[in-house]
Amino acid sequence: MEPYQWTIHEARRRLDNKDISSVELTRSVLARVKAVDGAVKAFNLVTDDRALADAADADRAIARGETGVLTGIPIALKDNMDTAGIETTCSSRILAGYKPPFDGTVPARLKAGGAVLVGKTNLDEFAMGSSTENSATGATRNPWNLERAPGGSSGGSAAAVAADMCLGSLGSDTGGSIRQPAALCGVVGLKPTYGRVSRYGLVAFASSLDQIGPFTKDVRDSALLLEAISGADPLDSTCSTRPVDDYAAALERGVKGLTIGVPREYFIKGTDPSVEKAVQASIRVLEGQGATLREISLPHTAYAVACYYLVATAEASSNLGRYDGVRYGLREEAGDLLEMYMATREAGFGTEVKRRIMLGTYALSAGYYDAYYRKAQQVRTLILRDFTKAFDAGVDLVVTPTSPTGAFRIGEKADDPLQMYLSDIFTISANLAGLPGISVPCGFDDNGCPVGLQLIGRAWDESTLLAAARAHEAQTSFHTRRPDL
């Protein structure tokens, strides 16, 4: 086994035993990137020099005995997290060359924790998409099948972990942008409870839905990485001051005594039969470990996508107002101010971003606010109430497929935005309700591409989520499979 193939906890053990230095580990990872990223295209930017410098710092820290969970561990960041002095583009022309004058809270925590920054990964422009095709730098490929999409919007971060180009990575999830690409790339992806992780320095797509979370090769790594980035931040008032659980300690709790809700609205026709088969088998694995299954109803599920696309686009249209060519980013010169704005934003944004700005602007505009935006926020309450009712009735976790299909072909859905939106149908509700969700590998579809199992938990109860994911993982070997590259 090559060092780049290790999990974070395996590398931690080896680094602490001085079997290997962080510089050696990092070199292994960078060589792997060089070898396979030409095909996968997971990275917008590989920060070789920074990575080796971080690794050398980490080795000195390890020598001093100042070791944290992430000291010397090569990690990749989705290119929508601000990194001081390092290009942060959101895969958009409008931010090409933009180097933030500050670190976001999560990148700063990784840095302070001694992690090694491998690079910035590709995404759908401003995280708007489900395939990582809508990128100014080109599409990322699914490592399991290079003709297919890795999912999105955090497709670069998912593919980088799946292809062993980093030991773990971070993505952001607004409507499934961590869980869906994790499922399609066969890795573990976790979206924390809204407010568990600081959003300061996460370039906003939809502020009331966005959360940063980890991609990892197994559930233990997910717990470790989540714990490293969680917790209160004076720079984000929407980030909770609740104490952070010891997630690693909760991992082996098992599922005995837990009630797992199986929502009938998530097991419908339209889901690929091979996906459904894999998911059903995994649900039986959980049952076999002592969980009680209960069929439940989340009756407003059918409205989630509609609700989501109004809330998310309204917030996005607002959040993207700052890209005006004045203080940073692209500018198309023009004779007057209005022309400068229009030309800059025309040239700077891709089609999907424009589409969402249009929809969001429309939903907020005079005369339509109540019918669209306000209505959607009411429906959002109904969706949250569905979950609250289930949890109040004793359900500890909800289990669903992460995505109705495995990886689809690049270009397959590109011309039909609505079909693309519907591929998020199973992940969106957790964002609308602010709940934590995790996707773990649970099999393969008829195309030989990975399938993900999604677990959704109570707010702030990532521990139970991780424990159940771990219980499933302990009985299966899907997470150990890697694509041939």
């Binding site: 601000d82 931010l95 004058p101 300061y200 320095g201 917030e315 607002s318 700052r322 203080r327 907020l364």
Partner: protein, 477 residues
């Protein structure tokens, strides 16, 4: 036709905080452009606002001072428009749920008290500044002011004259100065207002079409602009015309209001709740502790001055119209509390006249309240006459000498000794036999002449009361 004037004011006050409303940048005025900015107030990708507690406290205090209901939890809204001085493409403001609502402010015009309804007070961020002068084809943007905290107070359309509008604006300014939440500097625009004004035929209740006048930054301009608008609108209506709903501005040089160019498209601000700020709960306890920490307000102080010092409503009103003036008065009364009315007369009379003459603010008064109190004490005890006091006052102003010291140094102590006064009176009577005869013959008016002569002979130091008494006695013969 006779019209009734309907005016409502929207007052903006910049809060005196150290840091901006959503970031730690300084709010200091006058530093080089863009030297007080950070990723947050520059609206960089990924930044988030965090609300300054002092802004909430200031808003709550102003709300309590104007008898408002305090809203909790507090949410903000985004108001969208594109402009180079607005970094995020939206202004963070409060929209449908302002922090304070349903308040009132008492004003007095020509001795008549009146209650003006306060619709709402809300918190928001200021924009930056666009600079156009002498830059050819470019404009420049300075974002030092972007994110400076503002309170906007909106009145009901309860004001019925320019004088009422001015009284209301003065009262609000006085309140924010008392609370110490705004420096009230109108020249700098730290305290400014927009006025909505319309006319309607007297006796009708339907509101006429209103005109908005932007950025009035002095009481005088407000009054002049409103007076001009009343005349202008009256003429338009008299000629059978219609008032256009528009924004106008006061041209200070030409003394007219002018229509501001109407934008081609109506604004569509697309207000939406600000998801980046967690709602702030203003706990009852928090509001109550602020209430307790609040200084005495103008109305309370005025009532106390009337009840405690026996001042007239008018005097109390003048003194409390400025907190430093009221504080000065009270400090002087504390030094000598024997004659609060006399102290009031000195503060509002000689002292104010002297300060006005020199253009000095009461806060920079070269005479301490202790000096003035000492002077009043000497008068009250009869040691010096009112006339001598004027000399002492003049000598004392601008020095650190006490009134008693000056009196002593110059030998100005009042003569209250009967023997000495009798001697002076005898001299005066002896020197004016003709007047004496005329007086005794019934020309009572000549009494004043004798008083004057005695005072003159005593160099003003004779106790006037005793002079009166002794003269009457002596002139009887």
């Amino acid at each position: 036709m006779e019209y009734e004037v309907v005016i409502g004011l929207e007052v903006h006050c910049q809060l005196s905080t150290r840091s901006k409303i959503f970031c730690g940048c300084s709010t200091t005025f006058g530093n080089p452009p863009n030297s007080q900015t950070c990723p947050i107030c520059l609206g960089h990708p990924g930044v988030l606002p965090v609300l300054n507690r002092k802004v909430v406290e200031s808003a709550v205090m102003m709300g309590l001072a104007t008898h408002c209901a305090i809203t909790s939890p507090n949410v903000f809204s985004r108001k969208h428009y594109f402009y180079p001085d607005l970094p995020k493409g939206y202004q963070i403001s409060q929209y449908d749920k302002p922090i304070c609502e349903h308040g009132r402010v008492e004003i007095v015009v020509d001795g008549v008290p009146k209650r003006i309804g306060l619709t709402r007070i809300h918190m928001e961020e200021d924009a930056g500044k666009n600079l156009h002068e002498g830059l050819g084809a470019s404009s420049h943007v300075d974002l030092n002011r972007a994110g400076v905290p503002l309170l906007e107070a909106v009145s009901e359309p309860d004001l019925r004259s320019p004088d009422e509008a001015v009284a209301y604006l003065k009262k609000l300014r006085n309140i924010v100065l008392y609370l110490g939440i705004c420096d009230g500097n109108m020249e700098r625009g730290n305290f400014r207002c927009d006025a909505n004004i319309s006319l309607r035929p007297r006796g009708t209740t339907k509101l006429g079409t209103k005109v908005e006048m932007k950025n009035m930054n002095s009481f005088r301009f407000l009054k002049q602009a409103l007076e001009y608008e009343i005349k202008r609108q009256g003429q338009v209506l008299d000629e059978g015309g219609k008032i256009i709903q528009e924004t106008r501005q006061w041209d200070t040089k030409r003394g007219v209001t002018e229509s501001m160019r109407v934008k081609e498209e109506a604004h569509d601000y697309r207000y939406m709740p600000e998801p980046d700020l967690a709602p702030v709960v203003v706990e009852k306890i928090w509001a109550e502790s602020l209430r307790k920490a609040m200084p005495e307000l103008p109305d309370e102080k005025r009532e106390r001055f009337v009840s405690r010092y026996g001042l007239s409503e008018y005097d109390a009103d003048v003194l409390t119209a400025s907190r430093p003036l009221a504080d000065y008065y009270e400090a002087a009364v504390t030094v000598f509390d024997g004659d609060p009315k006399a102290t009031c007369n000195w503060v509002m009379g000689d002292l104010s006249a002297r300060l006005n003459e020199a253009g000095t603010d009461i806060a920079d008064c070269p005479m301490t309240p202790g000096q003035l109190g000492g002077l009043v004490k000497l008068i009250h005890s009869g040691e010096i006459s009112g006339k001598i006091a004027k000399t002492v006052f003049a000598d004392m102003y601008g020095t650190d000498k006490s009134a008693a010291g000056i009196v002593k140094e110059k030998g100005l102590v009042q003569v209250s000794d009967t023997g000495a006064i009798d001697a002076i009176i005898d001299q005066v009577i002896a020197a004016n036999p003709g007047e004496l005869e005329a007086y005794r013959g019934g020309k009572d008016k000549l009494f004043g002449f004798f008083v004057g002569q005695v005072m003159k002979a005593s160099k003003g130091q004779a106790n006037p009361g005793m002079v009166n008494e002794r003269l009457k006695e002596k002139l009887k013969g």
